[in-house]
């Protein structure tokens, strides 16, 4: 039986700005099964971070969810619409039910508190433990994320740790209250490759041990292949394809996904055809075409693409927002 922890449908987010309202997310829909990893992929500016912030209720003051539903079903089986929560309701969810780690390990920790303090604060906020028990849990958790000499590192300040270590601290902090859902917004993008692999390993191991679901945001298809059970592909503020990772790679349905996959560097290929960038650029949000937003760059575009297009199930559990059933090789 299906157990959906997250079901986002037709999410729309608008920002007030000098030139009026900009719609950063037009139509974001995806689902995440409990205990699984969904990768949210897309080029820079496609709206991945905005999606995650909308889920956490952390949109900046000029942004708001203007339509759509963010259904979340917690461990206790209660279903709720996150976008309908008030401030107090959200506080109970953040950190305890849904945790988030960010892209920038260098700046995401407060420079003036020890890492032990910052991890411990999460416990202080959500669990009723005394000082000693808290400290013990913090050290255990730092140990679990493979920080060497955890007991003494707990008293270190962020600037005394490397980027990789700080990201481990962020993970420890996110996981210490054993949340059901972890949102990771490009957690390894700022790290070098070997550290990146270690962090990905760590996240997979924690998922096996603790059983959380992960919404993993990335623009790196290599990372997707390594981490994801499911993939949702975003383009210009909308999800254009969702499928299992296997299907997405083997049976690509959307021309944009096809383009993304082709642009991954692959070790086997010769230098000349290593990278095939998608021609053209992402249209600015205020000047999106009426119909399919990808049409101006799409090699398969035809007249019908000027009509609006929605996500439809092309094969079992495989959704694509394209008039074509699948891209036809030219």
């Amino acid at each position: 039986m299906r157990d959906r922890i997250l079901d986002v449908s037709n999410l729309r987010v608008a920002f007030r700005s000098r030139g009026g309202e900009v719609t950063a997310l037009r139509d974001v829909s995806f689902t995440l099964e409990r205990g699984r990893t969904l990768a949210l992929v897309g080029e820079s500016g496609s709206g991945k971070s905005v999606t995650s912030l909308a889920l956490m209720g952390l949109l900046p003051p000029n942004g708001r969810v203007s339509a759509g539903r963010l259904r979340y079903r917690g461990r206790d089986g209660r279903e709720m619409d996150l976008s309908a929560l008030d401030a107090a309701g959200y506080r109970k969810i953040r950190g305890a039910e849904i945790s988030m780690i960010f892209q920038e390990p260098m700046s995401s920790l407060n420079p003036l508190f020890t890492v032990g303090d910052q991890v411990g604060e999460m416990l202080w906020l959500h669990q009723d433990l005394d000082e000693k028990a808290r400290r013990k849990r913090v050290v255990e958790m730092l140990d679990l994320v493979e920080i060497p000499a955890a007991a003494s590192r707990a008293d270190a300040y962020p600037h005394e740790l490397s980027g990789g270590m700080r990201q481990r601290v962020m993970i420890a902090m996110a996981m210490i209250c054993n949340p059901a859902l972890l949102i990771a917004d490009e957690p390894t993008t700022a790290l070098d490759v070997t550290i990146q692999a270690q962090i990905l390993d760590l996240m997979r191991r924690l998922q096996n041990e603790l059983g959380m679901s992960i919404l993993f945001i990335t623009h790196d298809m290599g990372v997707v292949a390594e981490m994801a059970d499911e993939v949702a592909v975003m383009y210009a503020g909308a999800v254009v394809e969702q499928a299992t990772a296997r299907d997405l790679f083997a049976d690509t349905r959307h021309p944009y996904t096809e383009g993304l996959l082709r642009s991954i560097p692959q070790p086997g290929r010769s230098k000349s055809n290593r990278l095939v960038p998608i021609p053209g650029t992402v249209p600015p949000l205020h000047a999106l075409p009426q119909g399919c937003a990808f049409a101006p760059r799409c090699p398969y575009a035809e007249a019908r693409c000027e009509d609006p297009v929605v996500l439809t199930e092309k094969a079992s559990e495989h959704w694509s927002a394209c008039i074509l059933d699948r891209p036809v090789p030219a």
Binding site: M56, L58, A87, Y90, R91, K92, I93, R94, G95, A96, S99, M100, F102, E104, S107, S108, L109, N110, P111, L112, F113, E121, M122, L125, H126, Y157, H159, M170, M173
Partner: protein
């Protein structure tokens, strides 16, 4: 830590030394004979010669300089010409109102300006934010002698809530003396609070946009805790600096305020000393104020160190 302190200490000594030199030179820079200048146009040549000898002005300049610095280092700032008493004693007798005026006005400024600054930043663009910025600008641009006069007129003369001026007379008890400082402290504090408010707001705005503030929110804490624990501690560092810097403003402000409220403090003393050409007192005040300034800045630096572990020592 000790190394850093040592460096700071050496720096302090250099600054004090420079101030001493400047204080020494200023008197000698005035055109003509300092002794004649000090005594004014009515003095007889004999008076001038006497004063020259008394001040040691007849000795070679280098000898004078060494004697001056050596004296200052031992706490001897010379004799006041007007009071016929050691400058240090004259200064000490006038220090109390100035010290408390500075303290109270700083306290007033901090109590008023920091909470408003924090709130204005947090509610950026709100009516309160705009009102606070406008009033800060207004407060900074109205000269304090004018606020002083207005306060005297309405709060003291008409409503009678506070004494109009003075320091309560020779027999006034401590509480009575402090009561005389309430209005002057507010007048002086208003100018400082304008600066501190703008600074608090600006640094708070910076910090509220930081990634770690977003992290704090993502942990599920109240906005109050986000702002007062995670943001304020970081914004506090630049605020400490500006408080240290407002000290200079405080000194010049104290001169005007003491004048308006007729307080027997250092500000008034130095103005009178200028009018009376009491050069040793002018020199002495300059040195004491500079030394205080250096000490205040050292204190803010040490506070920095205590708050921010990233500062390399």
């Amino acid at each position: 830590m000790p190394r850093y302190l040592l460096r700071r200490f050496v720096g302090m000594i250099v600054v004090i030394f420079l101030v001493l030199t400047i204080a020494f030179v200023i008197v000698r820079l005035a055109p003509g004979d300092p002794a004649a200048l000090m005594l004014g146009p009515d003095a007889t040549p004999q008076d001038v010669t006497e004063l020259r000898e008394r001040l040691g002005l007849d000795r070679p300049i280098f000898v004078q300089y060494v004697a001056f610095v050596a004296g200052a280092v031992q706490g001897n700032l010379g004799e006041s010409l007007f009071f016929n008493a050691p400058v240090t004693a004259v200064l000490a007798a006038r220090a109390e109102p100035t010290i408390f005026l500075a303290l109270f006005s700083l306290l007033f400024a901090l109590v008023i300006a920091t909470p408003i600054g924090i709130y204005a930043a947090y509610r950026r663009g709100s009516t309160l934010d705009q009102t606070s910025i406008t009033s800060a600008m207004l407060a900074a641009s109205v000269p304090s002698f004018l606020t002083g006069l207005i306060f005297q007129r309405y709060l003291a003369t008409e409503l009678g809530w506070f004494p109009v001026s003075g320091y309560g007379g020779p027999d006034a008890g401590f509480f009575e003396r402090m009561r005389h400082l309430v209005l002057p402290s507010i007048v002086l504090g208003i100018v400082n609070s304008a600066l501190i408010l703008r600074f608090t707001r600006a640094s708070m705005l910076d910090i509220l946009g930081e990634d770690y503030v977003r992290t704090a929110r993502a942990k599920g804490m109240t906005e109050r805790r986000v702002v007062l624990r995670h943001a304020l501690k970081n914004a506090g560092i630049p605020i400490i600096t500006v408080v240290g810097l407002t000290f200079a403003l405080l000194v010049s402000g104290a001169v005007v305020t003491e004048r308006v409220f007729n307080l027997p403090g250092l500000g008034n003393l130095v103005v009178n000393a200028v009018l009376r050409r009491d050069y040793p007192v002018i020199q002495g005040t300059l040195i004491v104020v500079a030394a205080l300034y250096v000490l205040v800045n050292l204190a803010t630096d040490l506070l920095y160190l205590a708050v921010d572990k990233r500062v390399k020592v």
